[in-house]
């Protein structure tokens, strides 16, 4: 039926939804968002966040298209968190209640040392916030601070140091810690940690600790590497 392809197709034959695709951004494009809005969507999905400083061009688009973007994210069971004061936005799993929705976001199971490091970073962020400053930590300082969590009878100092370094690396990989250019060994605690690890989350972690304290668990398994 190739003969008809050169013929101008009558308007009646193409419904409105298809006509939109005539103006698509690429062959076969059936989306309806403008280019910029799609870039925002991609940045949000790729994560970890979209912030006004680093994404100066996308930030105003996000504010303008907020409602549409929210709708698109909801279709993926995701919830848009937008903090206008911190000037940062990111996605998190929507609270779907009874509904068993698939999880698109990555998660990172924590080891004991990861969790105490996280607590310490959250603490630093809170202090810095109280002083109206950005939160900066030094690797040496973290080692000194978290040394208290080394078992008192422990003789493997080097092992503990190594594990803590691994935990720090994990936080870097997850963008909780960001190296500061030009200042070796110093990192900024990402302000988004405030939203990723809220007071409720701290409380939940406390509950986990109490469970561990209540009953000795026989299983000593080491957590597998994070699922990415």
């Amino acid at each position: 039926m190739s003969w008809s392809e050169d013929m101008p197709s009558p308007d009646l034959a193409s419904p409105a939804s298809e006509r939109a695709s005539d103006a698509g951004l690429f062959p076969g494009d059936s989306g309806s968002l403008p280019f910029d809005a799609r870039r925002v969507l991609c940045q949000l999905l790729a994560g970890p966040s979209l912030d006004a400083e680093r994404h100066a061009l996308l930030w105003p688009v996000l504010l303008r298209e907020e409602a549409t973007l929210r709708a698109r994210l909801c279709e993926l069971f995701l919830d848009l968190v937008l903090d206008r004061d911190l000037r940062v936005a990111f996605v998190r799993q929507a609270d779907t209640g009874e509904l068993e929705a698939p999880t698109l976001l990555r998660s990172s199971p924590l080891t004991f040392i990861d969790s105490v490091l996280l607590l310490s970073l959250r603490q630093r962020l809170a202090e810095a916030e109280a002083q109206g400053q950005r939160a900066v930590v030094e690797v040496d300082e973290l080692h000194a601070q978290l040394g208290v969590y080394e078992p008192p009878q422990g003789t493997d100092r080097a092992g503990f140091t190594k594990k803590l370094n691994a935990a720090i690396e994990k936080m870097k990989k997850n963008n909780v810690l960001q190296p500061i250019r030009g200042s070796e060994g110093r990192h900024e605690v990402s302000p988004t940690l405030k939203l990723l690890f809220s007071a409720e989350d701290v409380q939940a972690l406390g509950a986990v600790y109490r469970e561990h304290l209540a009953g000795p668990r026989p299983g000593d398994e080491v957590v597998p590497e994070e699922d990415d």
């Binding site: 999905l45 790729a46 994560g47 970890p48 966040s49 400083e53 968190v81 004061d85 990111f90 996605v91 998190r92 698109l104 976001l105 990555r106 998660s107 990172s108 924590l110 080891t111 004991f112 040392i113 969790s115 105490v116 607590l119 959250r122 603490q123 916030e129 109280a130 002083q131 109206g132 950005r134 900066v136 208290v148 969590y149 078992p151 008192p152 009878q153 503990f160 803590l164 997850n174 500061i180 250019r181 030009g182 070796e184 110093r186 988004t192 990723l196 007071a199 701290v202 409380q203 972690l205 406390g206 986990v208 600790y209 109490r210 561990h212 304290l213 000795p216 398994e221 080491v222 957590v223």
Partner: protein, 487 residues
């Protein structure tokens, strides 16, 4: 003050960064570096840039025989710990920034004043004091009679002056005194610009205090909040805030700043101003700009603090923060109890949910094409490096070449030959000074020989390490008729 009280006070001050800098073993070196890096030009420098610049300075100092054994980073860290540097991480910046602390600036100023040949008891300074006192007396005088009398006297003085000028008698300040006054004004204005630092430090301290009091002190919080909610801007109402505000209003007042600009223009246009040095002139010319710039920075900081602090209180963030504070402490205590029971790399039933998605589509797989990672392993023997005549000029300037021997060699060779190229000379007399010999011949050839345009010849010589070296040099011939020039 009794001596023992004074001693205690000085002892306290001696622990402060200002005195510590002055008393440091290598104070001249530190002061010079600090001044050069962070006072003379830019006052806020990103970390990497500061390290780089300092490293360069240190390198140069070493070349001049100064003992500076440590790395730039180590010095910066030490200066930071001594309280001479401050490190900030401003909003939006990608790097931490360094600047001098107020105390370090104080020490540098003091050192500068020691060096300055200007006498302190100048006529202009005295005149300034008298003028200020008279003005103060007037402004604090509440008696309308004496006020009127004073204004009339002033009018009489002005009238007398008008009369004199009308008759053509104009008294102009002589150059020496004009110069002295100009320098006095520059010094005053410079100090003024420096005072902004104090104001900003004060604001920062105040802001911190308020925040701490809000979070920690249950009793005072009521009053503070009341004041804040009533819309009273506590920082702006503080002493520093008020005096800065008055200053700022004066500076941004169109009439006043217009006067200032006009006066600066007039003064820098006068003949005597030609005797000011370049720095002084440029300071005067940019006076308004400098004041606005530095004052503007303080102004922004003040606005930022006031806004943030209000937001902090109004958003009730402090309540949340108190709760978080307690929760964190409590949870950390629980973690401490666990340290004997849980291995540090043991998993606990807690998962941090991240904010990036996991998209692992099959379409992301790419077939590996081994050709893309193949490297061409063939080795091509490189041509000798090219040495141009310009290069030679530079190299000759930098090195010590034994031209006498080289000239002797060429002279001797021209005894038997009508002409010879540098390659031929090197064939008869191996390059004893290595590259130096080659360069020396090229230098001699360009002066006493004949150059064949756009032609080159390959030469080789043996380096000190015994391996052969090659270069492509311009083709030059030494000629017998010019043999005598080489004596």
């Amino acid at each position: 003050m009794k001596p023992h009280a004074r001693i205690a006070a000085w002892q306290r001050l001696r622990q402060q960064p200002t005195w510590k800098l002055l008393a440091a073993d290598n104070a001249p070196l530190i002061a010079a570096l600090l001044q050069g890096l962070l006072l003379d030009a830019e006052r806020q420098v990103p970390a990497s840039l500061l390290h780089e610049r300092l490293a360069r300075e240190l390198e140069e100092l070493r070349a001049h025989g100064h003992a500076v054994p440590r790395h730039a980073q180590a010095y910066v860290a030490e200066w930071l710990a001594s309280g001479w540097l401050e490190r900030r991480f401003p909003e939006g910046a990608s790097e931490e920034q360094y600047e001098l602390s107020t105390q370090a600036i104080g020490a540098l100023r003091f050192l500068g004043s020691l060096d300055s040949s200007r006498s302190v008891a100048t006529e202009s300074r005295l005149a300034l004091v008298i003028q200020q006192l008279v003005q103060l007396a007037r402004q604090t005088d509440g008696d309308p009679h004496s006020r009127l009398a004073e204004l009339r006297a002033e009018r009489e003085r002005v009238d007398a002056q008008i009369a004199e000028v009308t008759e053509g008698r104009i008294e102009v300040l002589d150059d020496t005194r004009a110069l002295e006054r100009a320098r006095e004004i520059i010094a005053l204005a410079d100090e003024l610009a420096e005072d902004f630092r104090h104001v900003r430090d004060d604001f920062q301290q105040l802001d911190r205090d308020f925040r701490e009091r809000i979070i920690e002190d249950e009793r005072q919080r009521g009053e503070l909040l009341e004041a804040l909610f009533a819309g009273v801007d506590l920082i702006a109402e503080s002493e520093s805030g008020r005096s800065f505000d008055a200053f700022w209003r004066l500076l941004t007042d169109a009439e006043q700043s217009g006067q200032l600009e006009a006066a600066v223009d007039a003064v820098t246009g006068r003949e005597f101003a030609g005797k000011l040095d370049r720095r002084e002139r440029s300071f005067l010319l940019h006076l308004t700009h400098t004041l606005l710039d530095r004052g503007g920075h303080v102004h922004d900081v003040l606005q930022h603090f006031a806004r943030n602090l209000k937001g902090f209180v109004q958003s009730r963030a402090y309540l949340e923060q108190r709760r978080l504070h307690q929760l964190l402490k409590q949870t950390e205590a629980e973690a401490l109890k666990l340290r004997d029971r849980v291995r540090s790399n043991e998993g606990i039933d807690y998962t941090l949910v991240l904010s990036s998605a996991r998209l692992h589509s099959l379409s992301r797989w790419r077939l590996n094409d081994p050709r893309t990672s193949q490297v061409d392993g063939a080795i091509v023997r490189a041509e000798g490096a090219a040495i141009t005549l310009e290069n030679v000029g530079e190299l000759v300037g930098q090195s010590e070449i034994d031209f006498r021997t080289l000239k002797q060699n060429v002279h001797a060779l021209l005894g038997d030959h009508a002409q010879c190229s540098i390659g031929a000379v090197l064939h008869h007399y191996p390059a004893e000074q290595g590259l130096g010999s080659v360069i020396g011949y090229v230098a001699l050839g360009s002066r006493h020989g004949m150059r064949v345009p756009n032609r080159f010849e390959p030469v080789s010589w043996c380096g000190e390490d015994g391996s052969e070296r090659r270069a492509r040099i311009p083709l030059l011939y030494f000629l017998k008729e010019k043999r005598d020039e080489l004596v």
